[in-house]
């Protein structure tokens, strides 16, 4: 069996090219692939399009803006409610230095699922008449105005899971699945950082959330008590 296990986050993303589109899982503190993000910050790869639920609340991802690695974000949260805590992305957005595609959170998740599931496009009743529908086709279906949405795919997906087996099967913890489980289906190279890797057969087939066929690379990164980005921020 092909070995998917890499020795470090750096090694697991060694071939991530300039200008790549990168999906990053995580929601607030849950399921954030922070070691992979840090490795990408260290690597300094520029021209990135980042697809992430929140670039405003996730300071790990926001750190990619320190050296202007982000060209564009596709996200549901780009600006924090409080003006007192502006992120780097927000600063650069207000200066016109980065591009923003703002997407309702459910539509973001569904577009990623569509990218992984071979759906060419789909209609949702969400956001007609709002800024999130600007420039998009609309259509009345079943008596209700819908917006046509397109799938999202990426070159790389950064995933945080709880355990993996060596075949790449993943299980998560609590609210850790969030965008990780859909992003795992929608990128050419899926890299999962996990708390622990177990032997093939150690995960119950009934409990696997992400099948190993979706996962290309694994790296073990234990979580510390304090996320690194809080220390550094």
């Amino acid at each position: 069996m092909r070995d998917k296990l890499f020795q470090s986050p750096q090694a697991a993303i060694h071939d991530l090219p300039e200008g790549a589109t990168v999906m990053v899982g995580g929601f607030a503190s849950a399921g954030v692939p922070e070691h992979l993000i840090r490795a990408l910050v260290e690597r300094g790869t520029a021209g990135l399009t980042v697809i992430v639920n929140s670039i405003a609340a996730d300071r790990a991802v926001d750190a990619l803006c320190r050296k202007r690695q982000v060209r564009k974000a596709v996200t549901s949260f780009a600006v924090r409610a409080s003006a007192a805590r502006r992120g780097l992305f927000e600063e650069q957005y207000r200066q016109g230095l980065v591009e923003l595609e703002l997407v309702p959170q459910g539509t973001l998740a569904e577009r990623i699922r569509a990218g992984g599931a071979g759906i060419g496009a789909f209609y949702v009743p969400v956001a007609p008449g709002t800024v999130a529908a600007e420039g998009k086709e609309t259509r009345v279906l079943n008596g209700r105005l819908h917006v046509l949405e397109r799938p999202l795919r990426a070159d790389f997906a950064f995933i945080r899971a709880h355990k993996a087996d060596r075949a790449g099967n993943l299980v998560y913890r609590g609210a850790g699945r969030n965008f990780n489980a859909v992003m795992a289906t929608a990128a050419d190279v899926v890299v999962a950082e996990v708390d622990e890797v177990v032997e093939v057969g150690a995960l119950d087939p009934e409990h696997v959330v992400t099948p190993g066929v979706y996962v290309d690379r694994l790296v073990v990164c234990r979580r510390g008590p304090v996320p690194w980005y809080q220390e550094e921020a």
């Binding site: 929601f27 607030a28 503190s29 849950a30 399921g31 639920n53 929140s54 405003a56 609340a57 549901s76 949260f77 780009a78 600006v79 924090r80 409610a81 003006a83 207000r94 923003l100 703002l102 997407v103 309702p104 959170q105 459910g106 539509t107 973001l108 998740a109 569904e110 990623i112 699922r113 949702v124 009743p125 969400v126 956001a127 008449g129 709002t130 800024v131 999130a132 709880h162 998560y172 913890r173 609590g174 609210a175 850790g176 699945r177 969030n178 965008f179 990780n180 489980a181 859909v182 959330v209 979580r223 996320p227």
Partner: protein
């Protein structure tokens, strides 16, 4: 005109909690609505859904050992109740958009008399952040907005038409504020309850849209 003194944010949450019935599936938006989970009567089993992937969480957890994977959509630590389950984001929003939530309790910046909701962007602050608000406003069977009746500067928030960019049109069913409980009806806003010590006239005075008094305007109960 002096803005009457309303009830606390906690009492707004308590009043909203009284709208919830046994067995309901309910999503609580970021901010004030998250307080509602703490005020559900013990004999009422409500399935709180957090769009980040938990269904069946309880109140906000005690300070102490913080588990970063057990949080609500506001990032606050929560506990799981018996019967809880975990979802991914696509599953959580399939549940929301598919009409499987009985109630969404959302924060608000402005609500119009036809039920339009603006809650995602303050123009002066610029935007944006949408989060799950648009999905929740359109997907939940019943939308309750929990907010202060006016801005801090005293400007009305219950309007004939929203001036801020909309989250969703014609989605709000009930508004619970520090001053009143107001339903959205075919004829516009119906004033159903007023805060203790506040008169319907005082509420109307800080409301731009017309409030049609219900046949029996009562005092808010908690």
């Amino acid at each position: 005109m002096v803005r009457p003194r309303g009830v606390s944010r906690e009492l707004i949450a308590v009043r909203v909690a009284r709208e919830l019935r046994d067995g309901m599936a309910v999503n609580l938006g970021i901010g004030l609505p998250t307080l509602v989970a703490n005020y559900v009567p013990a004999d009422v089993a409500v399935w709180f859904q957090a769009e980040n992937g938990l269904l069946g969480y309880g109140g906000v957890a005690e300070a102490g050992a913080f588990d970063p994977d057990l949080i609500n959509a506001s990032g606050q630590p929560v506990t799981l109740r018996p019967g809880a389950c975990c979802l991914d984001s696509a599953q959580a929003f399939a549940m929301i958009r598919g009409g499987h939530l009985d109630v969404a309790v959302l924060g608000g910046l402005q609500v119009s008399e036809r039920g339009d909701l603006a809650n995602w962007l303050v123009p002066e602050r610029g935007g944006g952040s949408i989060g799950g608000a648009m999905d929740l406003a359109l997907g939940a069977r019943r939308v309750i907005v929990a907010m202060e009746h006016t801005t801090k500067g005293g400007a009305p928030r219950l309007l004939r038409r929203c001036t801020y960019p909309l989250t969703a049109a014609r989605c709000v069913d009930l508004v619970v504020t520090d001053l009143a409980v107001v339903a959205v009806t075919p004829r516009g806003f119906e004033l159903r309850e007023v805060a203790p010590g506040v008169t319907p006239e005082e509420v109307q005075a800080v409301t731009e849209a017309r409030l049609h008094p219900a046949p029996d305007v009562r005092e808010m109960e908690f």
